[in-house]
Structures are given as structure tokens and as C-alpha cells.
Symmetry: D2
Subunit: 335 residues, 4 copies
């Protein structure tokens, strides 16, 4: 951490700051320039609250050299993390998985039919929303615990582990048999929820917030990991920009950026990112090509009658076509 | 609501759609163009899930004429809403209030001292964070219930009603004596929390999310109001853009835009928006000038030792200076 | 085009508008709703100035059904356009080309060396900047006409056609022997320059502006095509967002979106988009995988001594590695 | 300037870098940390090309302490600059001016009528577009030199100096009698045009680019000033964000930020920023309140028949109302 002091920094205050930092275990190097004094902190600064330093009257600027996250940091964990789901299914470290299913669970018939279809096409996990975050209080919000019951029935019949979203820690009691718990984009910085999930020993799929930086995203992963739950899967799902041709802008560069910064697996959701069914295939293939560890794709048996997000859902046939394209490109993926 | 059908829309499917919409109570007008058929829905569409319509195979595009929110809509409530806090303090409809205090409650001495100082300068409410959302799990997260206890002590000694942030519905038990409950930017779309707050009969200060549109913000207000709690105050606090000279970009145009769309009071938080103490005064004055119903300003007795966000805090003296400038401009505010 | 009239639209004014639109050759369909009247215009609206309609006092809202561009529109030109460069080199319609070379031309030795190296690795065109747009007036701005002379020398020695950027129509005299003229991101809406380039019969590489929508980009292509020059190649090079981990955010979804909207070839520039050499390979491979018609990649013989943008340049060896990866994935690209 | 070297920086290369920097006249301070070496450059770094330093193989990161602009920098010019227009009209340093007029000059009758009306209401300068940048090649692009002739006629009849936009240096011959030359948002980084304008000795109104940072904006002012033309007026006109309720997001915080960084006058254009006539008054008042040195407001005698941007134009009566509100708030403005 580099601290640049103001020109007229009072000597007594500088001494106080120096003593305080030393008491926290840091070595300090001073560099005296023409107009500014610079302090270099040597030691583990990942737990220093940079805002406190910035707020000091004598400080002009503070810059981290070290990243503010530790458990998620590849520097302290060089090998790719491999997240294990249920009995032996793996994501990360060369293990590629496709998570597929409808945006919302609607009925037993629907979810079982989709589960069998996506399994046949090569998906490794089944997704389906039971608790649905919706912008409008008047929109369909999911079947709740009944939705989870139906997912578990589909799991029983298809053999696929299941992924479903949690919106509030109060609902954790319904998630006991869920294989992977998803944190949606709008809850990426719901820190109380993240802390609760850190107490579990179960994989968490952490979607990127609509307007969150990669560093903020890793800090949210750190919240979960700080509680002891190291099974975090990151999911890029598009960010909010000024462009309106797609629902969000899929930030695929985030995949190789994350692979440098963290050991956690990174998957891509082209369905939510684009919001348009015909864009799912090219962006799924691009995501696999640039090194993603998996994909999350919306599939519905009858997209034109889906109760939410039908516009971006694929039919099982279209999903099979995407899987073929992804499988063709996978051997040449860039990792 | 205008529904544009695809060129090759199957007649049978169009008939099905028509029957379904009629069964929901809508009148439908058809307009046949050279290349497209357009359906106009006549009736109350605020409760129609636009995504369901969009997802239909025969639909090319859907556009709302009516806004998707109803309780918050000025069209159905022409008069400004006036939110009453405690015994007789009012916000909105010509009543202007300044909410001031530290980012975090740190000690009884600090919060009582600040409370008395901001009251003397003309503030109507005291703010202070007890539960603090922080990007890093390693940063100071507030004094929690002890923080609320100290706020209540400061209220007792100063007579100012208090505003403090809630991060999770689990904590509601600590908020019984809190006068106004704040929902922070990161929780603006924490729909489960909004629903819980809709069950209360207590003013809610709803901050705009970092990357949320004005319409999404009003939909979040609608979540609270749909539960029966109509005492919602909106707070503009800056949005995330590419500009890095300020922490966020304060969107002051949102104030007159909101005054057209909704009857709810709108206040402005120049401290969090800019993140820089010297910008608080000009942006507070500008906010008052363009018609805000109030301001929210960070004040700390000793900003250089504040435990969070000190860089944007004012001393009590600087706050008095801001109040003088705001009071001077208020009679000429544009409403 | 759909025009929604205001509730209290004066009948006489509506008649005036109707007469005016009919005089422009449109048929008009009226649809009378409970609260609004809607006019549907039937005919070719691509040349209607939507702002004029919007500005009318009786108009509430206007929405295009038809896109505002015509020459660039795939609806009126179903086949992919193939742009021919020099003697027989093709881009688009299944012809994939890689454009490679340094950000700036620095010396004859440098540009000839790089030209031969990128040709050996499989590049089809040589790029190099002679006129360089730089944010600072004090930064190196290129060798100007001498730079173009050196590029032509490199073309002579390598046989590769050349691509270089124009910054002002005054400089066109130096571009006579240039094979492809590049319009940089900052000039995407320099309409006077676009009009001049529309008078040429030479391929134009049109980069997307930093903060321009896909529709605005196509309108800029339309400016060139409206002058009669139909040889336009679009180049996605990243858009400005709040994310700072990469220089810009590469919007790869733009590739399949453009392939639906336009018949023009679309290439991807991962070097400028990311600004980081190690990200060029994964994003080049992803760009090829999602169906781009080519790539533009920065290569420098000695990136650590490049006079501009060295941080994102590849060595010839690294470029060969990228070409191998791109060639491996190309047969499975998604178009 | 602080240069952080990579961990494994080769000693010989570090020596080369040190010698090179010393040859440029810098003193260098070294600070050796546990993991990184940091070099502090002492001297005038405003003319150093930061990209060249960043591109060096041994450099991890570079950070400026000094701003990269000099002529525009308040540190080297503490007093506010006052720009003089024609015979004695001043902007900046306490002199507040309102520039008003139509988006496009349409006829002599129109421009003369508007000129007299805005003068009567208190405007100090007349604006009107003769060369109009339009997204579509098919939209009305202004009357060109005839438009300037009409503006000069309106100037003769009203006595108001005139402001009009230039789109290409080729057109400079028509601007000889124009009092203030405007550079539009889309040309803020048209560096060749900026250089030409730097050769003049005439006030330049430099609008902020749609997606440009405050620092980039000041660098564009620096381009003009580096040529010797120090009469630059900055105009905030809204930036592109994800919000669609207004055409752009007016960044009023830019006003006090600029007043800290530069001595140049700063004005605000609420008409283009919001795109909605009813928002002009509150945002004009807010702009004046936070310390702007002037305003630029669209006024048209007949907004519903304006040939461009009518939606945001005010009638002369509405403009008089805005002037009254601005004049009321001006004595209490925050500077």
C-alpha cells in the first residue's frame, strides 16, 4: 500500500500515523519528493480499511499494490479450485459443466421434461427458479418451496444435481437438498446473505452484479469464503451499459481477467446477458472459446408460453444445437 | 400497451392471444399496417407482466403507454405526498428537511455531540449508521444494535428523530423505535426486504441503486407501497458512470423527473454521491435549487478520524455554512 | 413508424399532421384507444427525421418499426457483403482476414520487419498508425506522411495491403495508395469526414465510437454508403463502461447482433479493447468463435520500446501463437 | 509521477530506465519494498507520455501525481480566467452570461425574432446552428454559410454577439465574423480541429464529449491552449449513462470539480443535457446555484415547428421565466 501525504502534512500527525501503522505490524519506507512525501507499507495490507486511511487529513491519496481479497486471490492459491457438486461432478480446473433449465419452475411436468431433455443433450446440472426476483411486485414471483420440491423431483427422475436462487437467508431451510445455491445479480452485495452462505459447506454460484466491478465481485466471493465456505463459482451475466440492443453487455474479457486474479471457477450465462434467444449460441461458443469453466443456459420446453424470460429461452432442440457447437470448440479453448 | 405482432403471425395464435387478453378484461384495437399488425390494449395494464407478452412467439415488440407502477404514480394521486415523522415533522409538499449525522455511529460521546451540533445548525433529523454495508468483509461494519441504542440516546438528548439503515429483515426487531428506516443503494432491489418493510407503518427512506433507472426505483417504491406502507421518501445519491473524478455521478435531473412521475418526496444526498467534502456545499445548494424536498448530509465531529467515509464528512462548522447557503437559496427553489 | 398523440390533441392540428404525412407519400392508420390515439405510418420511413415528429406539440411519443438506415440494412440486401481489398483479398461472406501491425509506424526497419513477420504468421493485411489521435497534445502523434511512405515501403517488400487511420479530410492526398482507410473511434461521428470518405471508392474500416450504440454506428456507415461508397468494414473495439480492469469493455455480442442487422463485414480488435497483451489471445479466439469476419491485432517487434500502446502489443512470436489458436477454432465458428 | 517496478525487474534495465529519466531532467527517488521497488520522479512530468512508461517490460504500474495538463491547470494560474467576447462582454471570474437561441437557424425572420426576444429577456449572446451534426445522413443538416449570414444579420439587428458550431476546419473561412466558435460534443476529441482552433485568437466554447472524463476534456482544452489560444469556455451538456428518462445525464458536479482543477470558465447547457423542455428551468437554476459561469439554453419562437430538437426548446415567454428564476438564485450561488 502506498500512501501519498499532503504537501503541508503536519509532522506530529505524520508521526502519529507512522506509530499507528507500525503498531499494526507494518514496516514503512519513506520517499521524499519535491512536492509530496510517499509512505510505502510493507506487510499484509489485505485487512486494512483503505477508506480510513483516505479519510485522514494529512493523506492526499492511497493506492493498493496488494489486492484487498485474500482467500479468492490466485497469488495465495496458485492451482485452480475445483468445486465438487454432489457425488463427483466437478467444475473448474479443466472440468467444464453446462447448467441448463427454465428461468422459472412452472409444473412437475415441465421441469421433469426439461431436465430429461437437457441431460440428454449433455448438461451436467439442472437450473430452475423457485424464488424469482422481479422488478415489479405484480409480476409472477415463482412457486417458492413448491418450486424447490418440483426441482428435487426432477433431480430424482433425471439424476441431475440442481441449482436454484436464494433471495433471503430466511428461506435457507428450503435449500437443504439443493446442490448449488445461486446468488442473483441484485443480491451480489447483500452482505448479510453472503455471510449466512459463508456458514454453509455447499457450492455457491455467485452472479456478478449489474453494475459491479470485477474487484467488488471478488470481494463478495471473499465474504463467503471468509466464513469458511470456499466453494464459490463466479458467473458472468452481463453488465449494465448505455447499449440497448442487448439486455445487458456480456463482458467476456472478465473470464481471462478472473482467471489471472482468482483460482475460482468462472462460468458464463449468455441467456440473461443478451436476453435474446438467437444470441445464446454465438455467445455460448465465444464463452467456451475464451476459457470459461462452464455455461448457464435457459431452456424451456415451450418458450413462447414460459411465465418469465421466455424471449431468451431455447427449446430443447436449439439447446442440443448449442451443445454441439460448444463441444466442437471446447478442445481449442484458450486457457 | 401496444403489441406489435410479427409479420407472419399465425392467425390461430393471434386469436388465442386476443381471447386471453379479453379474458383479462381488456378491449383491443387492431391496426393493420403494410408489414405489421398492431394491437392496442385498453384498460389497466399496470399489472400485466410485460415479459410474458414479449416472450410470445408471434410478438415482435411491446411498449407500455401506462407506467408499470400505480401507487407511486402521480397520475392517480395528484397532490404531493407529505411523509410525517414522529410528532409532527413533515417532508414533502413544501416541507423541506435536512437529515445530518455521521456515516457510522462510533460512541455515545460522538453521536450526542454531532446530534446537538446539527440540530443547532437547523437539521430536522439525525442520521447515523449502525449496520454498515461494506465492500470488504474485513472493514468496520458498524456497532449494530449497540449503535441503535446510542442513536436513541442521542435522540433523547437532542430531540431529533433518527434515520438509520437496515440490511436484513432479521434485524427489524432492533428498529422499533427508529423513526425512519433507510434502505441503502445496494438493497434497492432486495425485494424480500422491501416486502417486509411494506408491512410496517413507518417512513422508509429508499435510496436509488447504483445502476438503477428511475423507473426501477419507482417499482421498488411500489413494492413497499403494495404492502400498504405509503410513507416512502426517495433519495438520489449518485449513479455509477465511467467518470472517476467523483465517487458517483449525482443525477440531479432525477429530482424534477420524479416530481413529474410521482407524488412521493425526493431528497438528495450530495455526500455519498460525490465522496468529496468540498463538493457537498455546491451540490447541496443545487439540489435545493432544483426542487428537492430535503437533503442528507454527512457530518462528523472529527472527520479525519471517522471510522468510515471520513473523506466526504463535514465538520459541524462546515455544515452550518452549508445550511446557511441552502437556506438562502430555498425561497427561490424551482418547484 | 408509430406516432402516439397526446390526450388532448387538437383536432385541427391532427388534421394538419395527417395532411403533411400524406403529402410525403405515407398511408396512415388510426387506432383510437381509451386515452391515446395512435397513428401508424405505412411507407418508407427511413428518411423521416424522427426528431421533427417528436417535437410537435400534439405528439406524445414516436417509435420506429423500420430501422433508420437503408443501405447498411440486411433487410434490403440479404447476402453478406464482401469487401475486396487490392487485388483479390476479400473480407466478409465467409472470407476471414487478420489485420496486424504496430500501433505506430516508427521506422522503416521496424515496419518492414513487422510486416514480414505478421505475413509469415498468416496475417492478410498490415496495419500501422501514421496519424495518431492522442489524448494529450504533448504525446507522440505519429510520423504523418513519412509514416505512410514507410507503410508503402513495407507493402512493397511484404506484399501485404495496408490499413491506416485518417484524422482529417485534409490529409486525403496522402492516402491515395493506402488500401483500406481506417476511421478511428473518436471520429465515428465526424460526419464531415464520413461524407468525404463516401465520395471515395475504397474500403473504409469504421471503428465503433467509445460510447456509441450499434444503431448510431450503422448510421455512420450509412453516411459513407449514402455517398456511394459501399465498401465499409465495421470494427468492434470496446465500449466505455464503469469497469476499469480492462481499458474498455469488448462488446462481443455486437458481432452476432450486427450480422442480423447488416450485410457489412464485422471484425474485432481485442488489442485496443482490452489494452492488455495477455488478454488478446482469449478475446481473439472468442471473437473468431462468435462469427467475426476478421481480427485486428497489434504486433510490435519490440513491445517494451513501442512509442505508443506498447502495453497491449504482442511480439511476432506471441502473434503466431494467437494465429494458431484462431485457426484452430475458425472451422467451428458460429455463423 | 510514481513508477512501480515489477518484482523481477532486471537490474540492467532499471539502470537504463534511470539514465533515460535523468537525461530528461528528472530527479529520482527509490523506495525498496518487500515485493516492489518504487521510483518517484521529481520535476515537471506534464509532458511525459505515460503510455510509454507503462509499456516498458519492467514497469508494473505508473501513477501521476501532477495533472497531465498545464495551461488549463489552476495550479499554474490561480486567478479565474475571464474570456472577453466582442466589445467588452465577459464570461468567468464573476461574470455570468446566458447564451440563448434556436438549435438551428431556419430563416431570417426566425433568427431575428428570437435574437430580439432573448436579448429582451437578458441573454448576453445569441446561439444558432448553421452546421448541424446529425446522426442520420437523411436529417436536416443546417443552412451552412447562409445560416451564418443570417446569424450575422440577427447580430446586426439585436446587438448580441453570436455563438455557432464548427464541424470541420475547412469551414473556418465562414467563421471570421463569428464571436465564439463552438466545438460540439462529438468533436471534443477531433484533435486536428482543436489544433486549428488553437491558431486562432478567438473564444472557443468546448462542449464535453458524450462519454469523456473531466480529465480528457481538460486535455482537449489544452490542445487549443497549446496553440496559443487561451480563450476557452467549457460547457457541460450531459454524459451518456444507462438512464433513459433524460436524453443524457447532466453532470452538475463537474462544475465545482472544474473550478478546482482549472481557471477556465464553465457553463451548463440544460437543454441538450435533458432533452425535455420542462426540465430546463430546474436544471438551469441548479447550474447557476452550484457556481456555473453561464448557461446555454435553446429558445425557439415556435418550438412545435422547429426543424431540429424542438422537444427541448423553450418559447421566448418560457425563457423569460427561466431568466427570472436564474436571476433570483444568482446572488446566492455557491462559488
Amino acid at each position: 500500500m502506498i500512501i501519498m501525504l499532503k504537501r503541508q502534512a503536519d509532522e506530529r500527525q505524520v508521526n502519529n500515523l507512522t506509530s499507528w501503522l507500525k503498531s499494526m505490524g507494518f514496516d514503512i519506507h519513506f520517499s521524499q519528493g519535491a512536492s509530496h512525501t510517499i509512505m510505502g507499507l510493507i506487510g499484509d495490507t489485505s485487512r486494512v480499511d483503505i477508506d480510513v486511511i483516505k479519510s485522514l487529513g494529512i493523506v492526499e491519496n492511497v493506492q493498493r499494490i496488494q489486492e484487498p481479497y485474500k482467500s479468492a486471490n490466485r497469488k495465495f492459491h496458485e492451482e485452480d479450485s475445483i468445486v465438487e457438486v454432489g457425488a463427483g461432478l466437478k467444475i473448474g480446473g479443466g472440468h467444464f459443466q453446462v447448467i441448463a433449465g427454465p428461468c422459472s419452475v412452472e409444473s412437475e411436468e415441465q421441469i421433469v421434461l426439461v431436465a430429461k431433455a437437457v441431460k440428454a443433450a449433455g448438461a451436467g446440472l439442472l437450473r430452475g427458479g423457485a424464488f424469482k426476483p422481479r422488478t415489479s411486485p405484480y409480476a409472477f414471483q415463482g412457486l417458492h418451496e413448491e418450486g424447490i420440491r418440483l426441482l428435487l423431483e426432477a433431480k430424482r427422475q433425471s439424476g441431475l444435481p440442481i441449482v436454484t436462487e436464494i433471495m433471503d437467508a430466511h428461506h435457507l431451510k428450503y435449500f437443504e437438498d439443493v446442490d448449488v445455491i445461486q446468488v442473483g445479480a441484485r443480491n451480489m452485495q447483500n452482505f448479510e446473505l453472503l455471510k449466512e452462505l459463508g456458514q454453509l459447506r455447499k457450492p455457491i454460484l455467485l452472479k456478478r452484479g449489474l453494475a459491479n466491478t470485477i474487484q467488488e465481485w471478488l470481494m463478495s466471493a471473499e465474504y463467503i469464503m471468509a466464513g469458511g465456505n470456499e466453494q464459490v463459482i463466479l458467473c458472468e451475466r452481463g453488465i449494465r451499459t448505455y447499449e440497448t440492443a442487448t439486455r445487458n453487455t456480456l463482458d467476456l474479457s472478465a473470464v481471462p481477467v478472473l482467471h489471472k486474479l482468482t483460482h475460482l471457477p468462472v462460468i458464463v450465462d449468455p441467456s440473461h446477458a443478451t436476453g435474446i434467444a438467437s444470441l445464446v449460441k454465438p455467445m455460448a461458443v465465444a464463452g467456451a472459446a475464451c476459457g470459461a469453466d462452464g455455461l448457464m443456459i435457459e431452456v424451456h420446453n415451450d418458450p413462447t408460453h414460459a411465465r418469465s424470460d421466455g424471449a431468451q429461452s431455447l427449446t430443447p432442440e436449439a439447446f442440443q444445437d448449442v451443445m454441439n457447437a460448444v463441444n466442437a470448440v471446447r478442445p481449442f479453448a484458450c486457457r
